[in-house]
């Protein structure tokens, strides 16, 4: 744990002395039934006559999502996980009323079998450096809780003791880089907007988290919206803007609601509005919702969408810093970037640069998901190795499977194979390794993931999300997808790989915006790292991971088939035909993939995906 974190912890923790229950209301927990847990808690408290005396609050994501639904019981700070409604009732009876920690409901470390009582004791948290996420899953999103933990202290410091130039200087010195994917130096961006001429300037918070597989922005907005508002207000002060917008994805209804509430609370306490903290600076924030378009994560497309039109990107320059929203200088920062600002202002850039690497200081939140034991948000100093994140924090790959690759950067990024497990995860190293930090999506893949199919998945996504304005992206992504589909259907030819590479490079070099320029990345990267898998699909018509459905159909090997006719008789779909003396055939249109023919063939002549029955079954498991 870093000293900065320790300092933060000491300063912020005001020991809770009374009983209080916090329920994780992150989406995964909700989808695992946290509402029923909440109802049970309320009911039991009501029955015991404690309703209203023990506060029960729903908070943002606690973090270790695979163990949800989770609750924290104060004053002890005991964490209970994987709860059902009955467990919740037991906790009220035993813990709240009886004062005994319910041992049997405590989380057990899967390896050491050791009982874990508090958040800090879990390997998942112990190994993290939670700065941006310092409040997520610890306090409620309400402003009163935020203020208890030094909330808006940074804003006070900026307005009281610093000029806008000094604020910008501090951010520049911190070396903070855009956390949304670009990695552009934040201080430099602020300076550009500060220097630009305009009677009005704007600050936009980009909360259009587009990478399907990243959810840190959602979690920050749901768990700690005020840290983002505070960052925006400081940014407004620094660049000379009086108006801010938060552009939130419409797919995040809870984040949207929490933002609205937070803005209303901040207005009420006069952190927003005219003459903030009586320092003569005025700033207000409005929310705009997106309507579902990946391209709107791109700055110029986002501005088009704020204008109320199609989210079409525009050529740069002019950059939004010069000519953005309504033609005025505009600063666009991502949620996580803004949540870093109060920390830097409050503790100084020198403390910030103690973490991370020289060119990538600070921490980064990764959204750990996929084939890994503990999924959820992981915040670590930039430069931490992938191995540490996956195995020490994430607990490794479940089901005795083998690690295959980690996908970073979503549809614009690439994969890191086993040989990259020990490279430091920072902006430059990942770029060198052929991937990118991106917004921090980190999907772990095991041996059951087909890399060709994954590339097809991302291309399918990019093709669908292409706005269609420029030809290289509109047509290029379509053609790439078609070729990849052909390969996954077992109709590929070797020269297709060359075409793919040529077309991908052309698209990269000539597309108008980041979407088209980055869309071929997952393809190019997997083609380089997993070429043999592409070749297996093409040469052997085989999907080594057993994913591509067209390659996983049953097939009768005519050289082995003795034309006994058993398969034809037992086939429930009557899909197998043949005659004595000639090998039997399967009509795949009729076949329902029940695989009974594989089971019954006495000669093992029928295979699926190039495998006989035992192997095929092993794949399904």
């Amino acid at each position: 744990m870093s000293t900065l974190l320790e300092e933060l912890m000491q300063e912020r923790v005001r020991p809770e002395t009374e009983h209080r229950i916090l329920i994780c209301g992150g989406i995964p927990c909700r989808s695992l039934g946290c509402r029923k847990v909440q109802e049970a808690l309320d009911e039991e408290l009501q029955q015991k006559g404690l309703a209203g005396q023990i506060p029960v609050d729903v908070i943002g994501c606690i973090g270790d999502c695979s163990q949800g639904p989770s609750i924290i019981v104060y004053p002890e700070g005991i964490v209970y996980q994987k709860l059902g409604p009955d467990d919740a009732r037991t906790i009220v009876r035993e813990h709240i009323i009886g004062g005994r920690v319910v041992e049997e409901l405590l989380h057990r470390d899967p390896h050491s079998e050791e009982i874990i009582r508090k958040r800090e004791e879990m390997p998942f948290y112990r190994e993290q450096t939670r700065l941006v996420l310092r409040n997520c899953g610890v306090i409620s999103p309400h402003i009163d809780d935020y203020l208890k933990y030094r909330g808006y202290a940074a804003l006070a410091r900026a307005l009281a003791e610093m000029t806008p130039e000094e604020v910008i200087d501090e951010i520049k010195k911190s070396g903070l880089r855009g956390r949304g994917g670009g990695g552009f130096p934040t201080g430099r961006k602020w300076e550009l907007v500060h220097q630009a001429h305009g009677d009005e300037k704007y600050v936009i918070c980009n909360a259009d988290e587009g990478d399907p597989g990243a959810f840190m922005d959602r979690s920050i907005l749901e768990g700690d919206p005020h840290s983002v508002l505070e960052g925006m207000i400081i940014a407004g002060y620094a660049v000379g803007a009086s108006r801010g917008y938060i552009y939130v994805r419409a797919e995040y209804p809870v984040a949207l609601r929490r933002c609205r509430e937070a803005i209303a609370q901040a207005r009420e306490k006069k952190f927003l509005g005219g003459n903030i903290l009586e320092k003569g600076f005025s700033f207000d924030i409005e929310i705009r919702t997106g309507a579902g378009a990946f391209v709107c994560g791109e700055e110029t497309a986002l501005i088009s969408s704020l204008h109320g039109t199609r989210g079409d990107p525009e050529p740069k320059p002019p950059f939004p810093a010069q000519k953005g929203l309504w033609g005025k200088p505009t600063l666009i920062n991502n949620v996580e970037t803004l949540a870093n600002i109060p920390l830097i202002i409050l503790h100084g850039s020198h403390r910030f640069t103690e973490l991370g690497t020289e060119r990538s200081p600070g921490t980064k939140v990764f959204a750990l998901a996929g084939k890994v034991r503990h999924t959820g948000l992981v915040e670590v100093p930039l430069g931490t190795t992938l191995r540490r994140i996956i195995f020490d924090i994430g607990g490794g790959i479940p089901g005795n499977k083998k690690f295959k690759a980690a996908q970073t950067g979503g549809p614009s990024g690439g994969c890191l194979g086993e040989e990259a497990l020990d490279i430091p995860m920072d902006y430059d190293s990942l770029q060198e390794a052929g991937s990118m930090v991106g917004s921090g999506g980190l999907i772990i893949l095991d041996e059951d993931t087909c890399m060709v199919d994954l590339a097809r998945f991302y291309l399918d996504f990019s093709q669908d999300e292409s706005c269609g304005k420029c030809t290289p992206c509109r047509v290029g992504s379509k053609r790439l997808l078609e070729i990849l589909q052909k390969i996954t259907e077992g109709k590929g030819e070797e020269r297709d790989l060359e075409t793919l590479e040529q077309l991908a490079l052309l698209m990269k070099n000539s597309s108008l915006c980041g979407l088209g320029r980055a869309a071929p990345n997952p393809l190019l990267n997997t083609l380089r790292l997993f070429r043999e898998e592409y070749l297996a699909h093409i040469r052997e018509r085989r999907c080594p991971a057993g994913v591509c459905r067209s390659l996983m159909r049953p097939r009768i090997n005519p050289e082995i088939c003795k034309a006994c006719g058993i398969c034809s008789r037992i086939c429930p779909s009557q899909a197998i035909t043949g005659a004595r003396g000639t090998p039997y055939k399967i009509d795949l249109e009729k076949c329902s993939d029940c695989l009974r023919c594989l089971e019954e063939c006495p000669f093992d002549a029928i295979t699926r995906g190039g495998r006989r029955l035992a192997e095929a079954e092993a794949m399904d498991r």
């Binding site: 695992l32 399907p212 995040y252 705009r288 579902g292 704020l306 039109t309 998901a369 999924t375 998945f457």
Partner: protein, 180 residues
């Protein structure tokens, strides 16, 4: 091209999006609500997306007539209204089924078997992929990432999310939905 409205089909107002045959009176009421909702946007720049979101909230989808209504009220060319409605994935120009089941197609869900889940769901519901249709009790569709990657794979039903789904859990889920 701007799609024609299906005659006699009008979803019930609100998020449930339950299509019922409409009467002229009901329809008139919905349009009155829309007119009222649009009042605050008049004369302001950059409001088209928000206005269409409200319209979709009222009708459950965007009927042709509603788009024309928005265009007239806000004096924005219909072409522009439709260009926005067709650009963003959250706008739908066809009415929804009674219960919408949306399988999340984010990366984490995908690698954890969302595709298989979708196929199985389609088989069990008899729904067709793609946009919602008014036929049948359930309509099956895919959705963009809902950010519940830790609970992958996820099915979204209305605003409810069901995590850690598997084809084996589907019959129980559908049964529960049928009861409602």
């Amino acid at each position: 091209m701007l799609p024609q409205d299906q005659p006699g089909i009008m979803p019930g107002a609100g998020k449930k999006g339950n299509p019922v045959p409409t009467t002229g009176v009901q329809e008139k009421k919905l349009y009155e609500r829309l007119t009222q909702a649009l009042e605050k946007y008049k004369g302001k720049p950059g409001v088209l997306i928000a206005a269409l979101q409200e319209a979709q909230e009222i009708f459950g989808y965007l009927p042709r007539k509603a788009m024309i209504h928005v265009a007239n009220e806000l004096t924005i060319p219909l072409a522009e209204v439709y260009s926005v409605a067709s650009f963003y994935s959250l706008f739908s120009t066809v009415p929804a089924g009674k219960t919408r089941l949306e399988v999340c197609m984010g990366t984490a869900c995908y690698v954890k078997g969302a595709e298989k889940l979708l196929q199985e769901l389609q088989k069990q519901c008899g729904g067709s992929p793609g946009k919602f249709t008014s036929e049948g009790r359930f309509s099956v569709a895919t959705t963009r990432c809902v950010g519940a990657c830790s609970a992958a794979p996820v099915i979204k039903i209305g605003e409810e999310l069901h995590g850690e789904m598997s084809p084996e859990k589907l019959p129980a889920l559908l049964e529960e939905l049928t009861k409602i």
